[in-house]
Symmetry: C2
């Protein structure tokens, strides 16, 4: 399938999706943030084919979301570390997790969700706010050109 | 490409991506939330091929993110409306937009971002918080099983 590039799109959502709008990429980022570092770890966690993983990792490095580093144990392996730009995707992962947890699980079904590292408790639900701090509902948000 | 289903995955992020982890689906949801209702409107805004759009719209209706309704002008056209479950994706779109705006645009480059409908100003940056209201950095968040 030919894919239109959204690289030059005016919309900030579209431009993000151009880089991370792929199921595998988001799962790789999730695992990397969770501490996975090696190709074999990603492969094992995700059950992804070698070629799929290779393409995605290369692209995430090119985009500055992951970076390559020599293995921390001195072996010949390469490791993938999350950059600051990659860590800045945590709110996207949390928003995805909170939506999924609310709508894609049954009542008390077991699930894995983002928790506060200190207390191990699920995060507070994301609250959208205006510049001046008013709490906003989804209906109060529009996509508009901004300076 | 064969796609593993994440439908039964324990991870709430994975389960969301199973439903909306596709570039086109997120753009359709963005446009539907922005007021697009008809097949032809989505087609024109997105420049997507008919078959791509048909598959995605059907799946979004099946998942309860969009619903079909008779055209509001009494014509024979069908319209797609956003459900409450669909509107609950606004925080995901806002998180994507804020990340994209920060990392995928140059300084003063023109962009379209989520704004507060009342004042037309960009939203405050999403702040992750613990259950008891402490402000959290990306490093303070872990993915863990929760009851």
């Amino acid at each position: 399938m030919r894919r239109t590039s959204l690289e030059g799109d005016l919309c900030a959502i579209a431009r993000s999706l151009d880089v991370i709008g792929d199921w595998w990429s988001m799962l790789i980022i999730r695992d990397a943030i969770g501490g996975s570092r090696r190709f074999s770890e990603f492969q094992q966690n995700l059950g992804a084919a070698r070629n799929i993983l290779t393409t995605r990792l290369r692209s995430l490095v090119e985009e500055g979301i992951l970076m390559r580093a020599p293995a921390s144990d001195g072996s010949a392996y390469q490791e993938y570390l999350v950059t600051e730009k990659g860590m800045a995707l945590v709110p996207v992962l949390v928003a995805l997790a909170q939506w999924g947890s609310e709508y894609q699980f049954k009542g008390r079904e077991a699930r894995s969700v983002p928790v506060d590292a200190r207390k191990g408790r699920p995060l507070k639900k994301i609250q959208l706010r205006s510049e001046d701090g008013r709490s906003l509902n989804p209906q109060d948000v529009l996509m508009r050109p901004a300076a």
